[in-house]
C-alpha cells in the first residue's frame, strides 16, 4: 500500500510474523531435543515447529515482496 514513504504496512507485518516465527521454531527445536517435563495436549505433533515455520516463511515472503527497495522502485516507477 502507499504510505507516502518507503515502508509499507505489509513490510512491518512481515517483520512481526517472521521474528515471531523464528522464536517459535527455535523453541520447538529446543523442545524436540530436550523434551519438557510438563507437556501440552498433542505435544507429539510438535505444533511449535511447523506453525512457527509457517509464520517464518510467511513473514519472509512479506518482507521480500514489500521490501523498502522494491517499494521505492515501485513509487519511482509511477
Amino acid at each position: 500500500m502507499k504510505t507516502g514513504s518507503h515502508l509499507s504496512i505489509w513490510f512491518f507485518t512481515g517483520i512481526c510474523l517472521g521474528v515471531n516465527g523464528a522464536f517459535i521454531v527455535a523453541q520447538g527445536i529446543y523442545e524436540a531435543i530436550y523434551p519438557p517435563v510438563e507437556k501440552v495436549v498433542l505435544s507429539q505433533l510438535h505444533a511449535n515447529i511447523w506453525w512457527g515455520a509457517v509464520l517464518l516463511i510467511l513473514g519472509l515472503l512479506f518482507c521480500v515482496r514489500f521490501s523498502p527497495a522494491r517499494e521505492r522502485a515501485r513509487l519511482e516507477g509511477k
Binding site: 500500500m1 504510505t3 512491518f12 507485518t13 517483520i15 515471531n20 522464536f23 501440552v40 495436549v41
Partner: protein, 586 residues
C-alpha cells in the same frame, strides 16, 4: 467484594517462559517504532484524522474488521459460544455480513461523496447542528468510557491469566497507545490494527486446528458435546450445534430467543446500526483512497468476518466437548464470572465462561506459541483502545470543538489539538478504568448505554440518506426519542424483571435476547418519530441536500474495471458463501 481484588489471591491460568516474554516485549517495541516512523507523515488534519485518505481496500478492510476484533470480543464470544452453543455465531454471520455488504454497496457512496470526517459530521450536513450535537457528544462520552472499561477488562484478564499487577497492565498499555496514536494519528492506529489482525490469526488459529484433531473432526465434536451435556442433564443438549433449527420457539435453545429476534433485532437493527453508523469502524473505511476501495473495504472485512467463528466460536464449543479434569476425568463446567470470582468459586478453582479461550490456549500452546497467543490478546486490547481514542479525537476536534466551540480553528491547530486530545483521552480512559475497578456493574451499564445510542442512530442515518423529506427537526427528535425509549425499556426491566415478557416477548429471554428486542423497538420508535415530525415540519430545499441524500447525489462512475475488481461481484460472492454457511450449520 470487588472481583478484581478477589483475583489477587487467585492462581494464574498460565505461566510464561522467557521466550514468551521476549515475544511480548518485541510486540511493544514494534508498535512504538511504527508510531515514531509514522510521525513525519501526520502533519495535516487529513493526515492525522483521516490517514491522508490514501488507504488501499485491503488495509482499510482489515482495519475495519480489526477495530471490532478486540480481545474482549474474542474472549467474550468464545465464552458465549460455551454458554449458548453455535447460536453465538449469529453475531458473526447474520449479525455482521448483510450489514457490512449494505454499508459497502448502499451507504458508502453517501459517506464518501460528502467527504465527511465522521458520522456526526454527516448528520450535521443532513440534519443540522442539533442531531450532530446529540450524536457527537454521546459518541465522545461513550467512546472514552468504553476505552477505559476495555482497559480495566484487559488488566483483569492479565491478572487472571498471567497474574500481572493490574496497575502495571493499565499504565503500560495506556502509555503505549497514547504514544503511538499521538504520534501517527489514525494512520498509526490503522497500521497497528492490521498488525493485530495477523497476530490474532497467528496466535489463535492453532486452537481450532488442534482441537478438531483431538475431538475427531466436526462429527466427533458434535457427538462429544451431546454426550457431555446429556451427562450434565442440560436442557436441549442437541441444540448447541445447530444455528437455525432450534429458533422456532423461545425455550428450544439455550439463549431463549426466536428467529424474529435474531433476524430483525440482531440482523436488521443492531448489526446494521453498529456496522453502518458506529464511527469507530466507519472511520477506517472513510480513510480509503477512492470510492471503489471504500466499497471494497467492508466486503473484504465481511469475507474475513465470516471466518472469525473458526477462531472464536469453535474454541468455545471445543471447551464444551474436551475440558475435563486431568486427574479425575470429570467434566470441567465453566460458570458465570461472578460465581467463578466469588470466594467460594475461587476456593473450588472454578473458571468463568470468558476464560474458555485462555484455557484452550494453555491446553495446546507451549512456550513460544503461548507468548504469541498472549501477544495477540494484548494487541487486540490495545488496538481496541487505540480505535476508541482515535475516533474520540476526531469527533472531539471536528464535531465538538470545531463546530460548537471554535469554528475558525486552523488545520495546524487541529492537528496539535488532536495530539493533545489523544493524550487527554487516554488519561480520562485510565480514570474511567479505575472507576470501573471500584464498581464492576458500571461495565454492564455503559455497554448497554453504548448500544442504546447505536440502534436509533441507524434509523436516523438511514432515513437521512434514503428519504429526502426527513427534516432537521425530525432527525434530532427521532434520535432523542429512540435513545430515551431504549434507556426507558432497560430501566423498566431492571426495576421490574417481569417486564421482560413485554420488552423481549418471553420470560425465557436471556440478556442477549433482551438486547435484540430493545434495539428493534427503539429503532422503530426513532423511525416513527422522525417520520411524523418530518411530515409536520418544513423540509430542507433540494439544493441543500445535494451529496447527502439518495436521488440528489451524483455517484461518481467507478472506472472501468474487470469483474474481479468489482465491489458488486465480490459482494455477491460473500453473500452466496454466507447463505451456504447458514445451510451447512442449519
Amino acid at each position: 467484594m470487588n472481583p478484581a481484588l478477589l483475583m489477587l489471591s487467585s492462581s494464574t491460568l498460565v505461566h510464561l517462559s522467557p521466550v514468551d516474554l521476549v515475544i511480548i516485549v518485541f510486540y511493544f517495541a514494534l508498535v512504538l517504532g511504527i508510531g515514531l516512523y509514522l510521525k513525519e507523515q501526520a502533519n495535516t488534519g487529513e493526515d492525522f484524522f483521516m490517514a491522508g485518505r490514501e488507504m488501499t481496500a485491503w488495509v482499510a478492510g482489515l482495519a475495519f474488521l480489526s477495530a471490532n476484533l478486540g480481545s474482549l470480543e474474542l474472549m467474550g464470544w468464545a465464552g458465549n459460544s460455551y454458554k449458548y452453543g453455535i447460536l453465538a455465531a449469529h453475531w458473526y454471520w447474520i449479525g455482521a455480513i448483510p450489514s457490512m455488504l449494505f454499508l459497502a454497496l448502499v451507504m458508502m457512496p453517501f459517506y464518501y461523496v460528502c467527504k465527511t470526517h465522521s458520522v456526526p459530521g454527516y448528520l450535521k450536513l443532513r440534519f443540522g447542528v442539533g442531531a450532530q450535537a446529540i450524536s457527537s457528544i454521546s459518541f465522545a462520552v461513550m467512546t472514552v468510557l468504553m476505552s477505559g472499561i476495555n482497559m480495566y477488562a484487559m488488566a483483569v484478564v492479565m491478572k487472571v491469566v498471567l497474574g500481572w499487577n493490574m496497575h502495571f497492565s493499565i499504565w503500560v498499555s495506556a502509555g503505549t497507545v497514547a504514544v503511538y496514536v499521538a504520534l501517527g494519528g489514525l494512520r498509526s492506529a490503522i497500521f497497528n490494527e492490521v498488525l493485530q489482525f495477523f497476530l490474532i490469526w497467528a496466535g489463535a488459529l492453532l486452537i481450532p486446528i488442534l482441537g478438531l484433531i483431538e475431538a475427531g473432526g466436526w462429527n466427533g465434536l458434535q457427538a462429544k458435546i451431546l454426550q457431555n451435556l446429556t451427562e450434565l442433564h442440560m436442557a436441549n443438549p442437541g441444540s448447541y450445534t445447530h444455528l437455525w433449527s432450534t429458533l422456532g420457539n423461545f425455550n428450544d435453545n439455550p439463549m431463549g430467543i426466536n428467529w424474529a429476534g435474531i433476524v430483525f433485532g440482531l440482523g436488521a437493527v443492531i448489526a446494521m446500526g453498529y456496522w453502518t453508523t458506529d464511527f469507530l469502524v466507519v472511520q477506517r473505511v472513510l480513510a480509503a483512497k477512492d470510492l471503489r476501495s471504500a466499497e471494497l473495504a467492508p466486503i473484504i472485512g465481511a469475507a474475513f468476518k465470516m471466518c472469525v467463528p473458526f477462531i472464536v466460536i469453535l474454541p468455545g464449543l471445543l471447551g464444551l466437548a474436551l475440558l475435563r479434569d486431568p486427574h479425575t476425568g470429570q467434566l470441567i463446567r465453566l460458570v458465570p464470572a461472578d460465581v467463578a470470582w466469588s470466594p467460594a468459586g475461587q476456593a473450588q478453582g472454578l473458571h468463568g465462561y470468558d476464560e474458555v479461550l485462555p484455557l484452550m490456549l494453555a491446553r495446546y500452546c507451549g512456550p513460544g506459541l503461548l507468548g504469541l497467543g498472549i501477544t495477540a490478546l494484548i494487541a487486540g486490547f490495545m488496538s481496541g483502545m487505540a480505535g476508541n481514542v482515535s475516533a474520540f479525537t476526531t469527533v472531539w476536534t471536528y464535531d465538538i470543538y470545531g463546530t460548537l466551540i471554535n469554528k475558525n480553528a486552523t488545520d495546524d491547530f487541529k492537528v496539535k489539538m488532536g495530539r493533545w486530545v489523544t493524550v487527554i483521552g487516554v488519561i480520562v480512559s485510565i480514570f474511567t478504568a479505575y472507576i470501573a475497578a471500584g464498581k464492576p456493574s458500571i461495565m454492564d451499564y455503559v455497554q448497554s448505554l453504548f448500544s442504546f445510542f447505536i440502534a436509533p442512530l441507524f434509523g436516523t442515518v438511514l432515513l437521512g440518506m434514503l428519504w429526502k423529506r426527513a427534516t432537521p427537526a425530525g432527525g434530532w427528535t427521532g434520535l432523542l426519542a429512540g435513545t430515551l425509549s431504549s434507556v426507558g425499556m432497560y430501566a423498566w426491566v431492571k426495576l421490574d424483571p417481569n417486564a421482560v415478557r413485554y420488552v423481549a416477548l418471553s420470560m425465557d429471554a436471556q440478556d442477549q435476547a433482551q438486547n435484540m428486542f430493545r434495539a428493534l423497538w427503539c429503532c422503530l420508535i426513532c423511525i416513527i418519530v422522525t417520520v411524523v415530525v418530518s411530515m409536520l415540519t418544513k423540509p430542507k430545499p433540494d439544493s441543500e441536500l445535494k451529496d447527502v441524500v439518495y436521488g440528489l447525489t451524483p455517484i461518481p462512475k467507478v472506472e472501468h474495471v474487470s469483474i474481479f475488481h468489482s465491489p458488486i461481484f465480490w459482494g455477491v460472492v460473500v453473500a452466496v458463501i454466507f447463505i451456504v454457511l447458514q445451510i451447512i450449520f442449519w
